[in-house]
Subunit: 370 residues, 2 copies
Amino acid sequence: MIRFEVLKKHRHSNARLGRLITPHGEIETPIFMPVGTQATVKALTSGELVGAGAQIILGNTYHLYLRPGHNTIGKLGGLHPFMNWDRPILTDSGGFQVFSLNNLAKIDDVGVRFKSHLDGSSHHLTPELSIQIQQALGSDIAMVLDEPAPHDAGVARARESLERSAAWARRCLEVPQKEGQSLFGIVQGGMHRELRRESAERTIELGFPGYAIGGLSVGEEKQVMLEIAEYTAPLLPEEAPRYLMGVGPPEDLLACAQMGIDMFDCVMPTRNARNGTLFTSRGKVNIRNAHYKEDPDPLDPECPCETCTRYSKAYLRHLFMADEILAHRLNTLHNISFFLNWMQRIRDAIREDRPIDWRYDGAGSSSTVS
Amino acid sequence: MIRFEVLKKHRHSNARLGRLITPHGEIETPIFMPVGTQATVKALTSGELVGAGAQIILGNTYHLYLRPGHNTIGKLGGLHPFMNWDRPILTDSGGFQVFSLNNLAKIDDVGVRFKSHLDGSSHHLTPELSIQIQQALGSDIAMVLDEPAPHDAGVARARESLERSAAWARRCLEVPQKEGQSLFGIVQGGMHRELRRESAERTIELGFPGYAIGGLSVGEEKQVMLEIAEYTAPLLPEEAPRYLMGVGPPEDLLACAQMGIDMFDCVMPTRNARNGTLFTSRGKVNIRNAHYKEDPDPLDPECPCETCTRYSKAYLRHLFMADEILAHRLNTLHNISFFLNWMQRIRDAIREDRPIDWRYDGAGSSSTVS
């Protein structure tokens, strides 16, 4: 089981510095969790993740259930030894991927039927199966199966997903828990404050050691996401960790940490790396830009990662244009390092009671970050 | 300029233990040179190559001329700083790739006209341009432009390529040399002994600090390759390094080192890695095999590389089946480590005057390697 301690509240915002204690070690919060979809944070080794300062990673239940299969991973001792990662792991429930990767997923009160995006085989994900899979994976933190409403859902549709999510959360809790694994509840309610409040109350009533805000970053305007997150965060217990699922770019991590969110995950640093979009202390860089063809300077002179200390922008651009595997490696290593160092800066500001008055403007070199 | 010293001759074969001194450090021979086609040994960082024991790597003039361009690399200080590799580099002449990647390449006595495989643009590679490119790349060892004959060339066709190669070698020598760069000659002559002898004599007469055997491993039977290599090697000066281009699998490295060959290069370890074919001390492993799905053991328990010390065959198979970038990384790291350690074993046997009586049977677990 996990334990969570709020070490310090920030004088200038609702941010908190926390310590999350898990069977695989302690995590300092607020924290960003790199996403390791298929038992690997794409392009990186587990050793590199440790080197970059990753304290916890996320594994995707949907992908691992389909390939190589949770039973295979279970027989090999779980996800930790399988991918040689001995720090904490959080697994999602698989629900979000079922919906986002399967247009034809059919949902009813029992669960959701879908066809594998790999081979078209038929599957039926239920709350019970989701927990069973996550138990085989052996994550430190498991998530309840929920049903996020579409971002444009009206009250009736959002209530439907709220009710179904509440019922499924209860069923997840009824599965005998695995020793050492903690189950987090998820607040739904779409973009409707009254439903968010109700979902928060009902999820808290069920009782979990941690709470997530789900159903955001699903296509709504950024301002709406921020408003709903800001409204929902203080509805959650002070003494439990709060996890905002699927967020986000550096500026949103900054904003949401100051709302009192403790945990984040997003594919942005890894996916953007493979598209050549790199986050730096001077703003976003599109490494394909011909401007960098003969640029001998490091990508980000303030970054301590191997990419920035050993290679030039000219080399990174060449590797990307030549579609070399090393491009994806070096780009990913940098972006992950940037996100993790970004959170470290936020934690340091909370610890030292400095205002978090910097911002991140993704537009490029005109941005201000200090 | 390079210097070469034969430190020891093997009591049980024609193998020699040598030391090749270059502006970027010393190399122990016999040596295998990993191929870094596009300024990267595919999937690996320069730091990993050092860790795996790579003493020298090969860069491809054809690819780097087309992208990012030798002038770009030259402006950035050459290939060494560009790819952050401070050990020796050998560059080929570009000729072999022109012929193998361009069905429509047109050759005459001046040079070879071809269209870029990237954008169809027209180019004209001459001996002078090849040297100019290699000088901009700043390799420690450059190769003369030659024209390999097809493996099934009769005497007339093989003589034509011999004569053209000889004339081009002379023109390469007439280009003012770059300080610190050494130019190797290449023996051609197809599969015809009398032509090999003549080519060796004429190349030696021109005078080079090192000699390569070219035009092998181009489609002929393995036995033919071995016979021609064995015939040609002793025709080359004892006091100069001998380089067999494009060879080969572990068993051929073993055989040819015992003929007195000092240097080898081949894309086999890197290319096969990306196809899932892995070289181990127990023979070749096809990591796609379902047999490995739940295999918790390391790929090669005798191998000290990160792949073998940190991950299981089950994980390697999963990564490969899921087409993860990490699969290519870990597979390549292992294969390169295996080839480099293989050469280390050969050097140790020469040093200690032990017979090189082991063999490598690529067929799998039935093979004997000790």
